[in-house]
């Protein structure tokens, strides 16, 4: 990665980390969700700088347009406006402890693993991607489809039962 690219990459990374911190440190659930959205957008930006534009757009499509909106719906249906999150210190520590431990293990694992690194991978165009999906990787692709279908049917069943 050359100088200017590195600048863009670092800026996006900083934005991502900054929003991630804002997500967990905020007291307003709604704002936290919006910061989560901006975190996801910066990750999408990182994908763009790595020439994976399809993955980047899918990130925006699925995560920002889908997941974040879903969470916002959840907040609107369950929370009071202006409600603040106040967990006790004790409760925070019980959550923070295991999370810190897990993060430590992950970081240690990442640092010690010798990943096969490739200097530069040319961007894959979407036609190649599509062909791979429908030929070499057709079985995983179909399994994922079945999983999604099951989730869809499950959602309908859950919604139906509640009506009785």
């Amino acid at each position: 990665m050359s100088g200017p690219e590195l600048v863009v990459f670092s800026l996006l990374g900083l934005a991502g980390v900054g929003s991630a911190v804002a997500v967990v440190s905020g007291k307003d659930l709604f704002r936290s969700t919006l910061f989560f959205g901006s975190f996801l957008l910066s990750v999408a930006g990182l994908y763009f700088t790595l020439e994976a534009s399809f993955v980047g757009i899918m990130q925006i499509f699925v995560y920002v347009g889908g997941v974040v909106v879903m969470i916002l719906f959840g907040i609107m249906l369950t929370q009071q406006e202006g409600a603040r999150l106040n967990a006790s210190l004790e409760r925070r520590l019980t959550v923070a402890g295991p999370v810190a431990l897990l993060a430590g293990i992950l970081i240690a694992a990442i640092m010690t693993t010798s990943f096969k690194t490739v200097r530069e991978v040319p961007g894959v165009d979407i036609a190649t991607l599509g062909k791979l999906f429908t030929n070499d990787y057709v079985l995983p692709f179909e399994i994922v489809s079945v999983l999604l279908l099951a989730a869809l049917v499950g959602a309908v069943v859950v919604a139906k039962e509640r009506e009785k």
């Binding site: 863009v8 763009f48 899918m58």
Partner: protein, 335 residues
């Protein structure tokens, strides 16, 4: 990616950006005037007649009025988010112009996945609508925001499926490639079902009557922008009109041959043809708005899930079958 920070290379994106903003501003002015005139025509009135030729300067007067209005921040509002929301609604609509093919070889960014970009980015406006509704601190705003987002999401599915047929026929997701594939036959003819679903779903996504429940004044005062006034309000209005124009421009690109004239007439007029086609679609949307009454929320969702979705799925299956069986013949037909 090759980011180039020399002055010349930054000039081009800056020029595109400025062009998009100017284009949107000018078109919004024209669209508001057109809306007034079309509504007046349907209701056997004259519409604005005093300022300028047939009231064409009316919007300038309105803009001045909006600019000098007091900027009201409701006491119960979350001030920062309240101020942010209009931009979150306006910017995604503007960003869609990035992949709009304006003329032969004339496009800001011909992405290989341009169509997916167009489906993904403008729908982010729903987050802005959420923010507006939530931060206003008003129950009507919150309800309107939720309705609007629910509507956007449920109509996104048939809209995304409706353009799949176009992708299958064109064999590409690049917007330029889709226009190029319509050299001899506009996709509206083989994809009439897809076009109808796209058009109806687009009108619903933009939130215009008969799908304007998010701002149904008899139930919700004015929906998610009830608390907004002055310039902040006009940003929402501008966002709505830009979204309408973008939906129609993209409809023209996907189904009406983009910048190609009918029967290859006057190819040098490229962008003019595109605008004419888009405005024809806008005109129909306006006539629909001033003719049909508003749907109920259950009807609205039923149209999406029980009518548009099955039709678009049938269209996908039909197109796939045609492409599979008669691929060669089709390629000959499309040139």
């Amino acid at each position: 990616m090759n980011v180039d920070f020399t002055a010349g290379s930054l000039l081009v994106p800056a020029a595109w950006g400025l062009g998009f903003v100017l284009f949107s501003a000018l078109n919004v002015m024209f669209l508001v005037w057109m809306e007034r005139k079309v509504s007046a025509d349907i209701q056997s009135r004259w519409g604005p007649m005093v300022r300028g030729y047939h009231g064409s300067m009316q919007l300038l007067a309105d803009m001045v009025k909006l600019l000098i209005k007091e900027d009201i921040l409701p006491a119960a509002a979350d001030k920062k988010m309240f101020a942010l929301a209009p931009f979150l609604v306006f910017i995604p609509a503007l960003l869609a112009l990035l992949v709009l093919p304006i003329g032969p070889g004339l496009i800001a960014r011909d992405m290989g996945v341009g169509l997916v970009y167009y489906l993904a980015v403008p729908s982010l406006a729903s987050i802005g609508i959420f923010v507006a509704g939530w931060s206003s601190g008003n129950k009507y705003s919150t309800l309107g925001g939720m309705r609007s987002a629910a509507q956007l999401i449920s109509y996104e599915i048939p809209r995304s499926l409706s353009v799949l047929g176009v992708v299958m026929l064109a064999g590409t997701l690049s917007m330029m490639g889709i226009v190029n594939a319509q050299k001899s036959l506009w996709f509206i003819i083989p994809q009439i079902l897809g076009f109808l679903v796209y058009y109806i779903a687009s009108i619903a996504e933009v939130g215009r009557t008969p799908f304007d429940l998010p701002e149904g004044e008899s139930e919700l005062v004015n929906g998610y922008f009830t608390e907004y006034s002055g310039m902040r309000f006009s940003f929402f209005m501008m966002g709505e009109y830009v979204a309408l124009l973008v939906a129609c421009l993209m409809g023209a690109v996907l189904f009406l041959g983009g910048w190609r004239g009918p029967f290859g007439l006057l190819p040098q007029l490229g962008p003019v043809w595109l605008l004419l086609k888009a405005y024809a679609l806008v005109y129909v949307a306006m006539v629909v708005r001033w003719t049909l009454p508003r749907y109920r929320i259950d009807q609205l969702l039923e149209i999406s899930w029980k009518v548009l979705l099955p039709i678009s799925l049938i269209n996908v299956a039909l197109t796939a079958a045609i492409v599979f069986v008669g691929g060669e013949w089709l390629r000959g037909l499309l040139g």
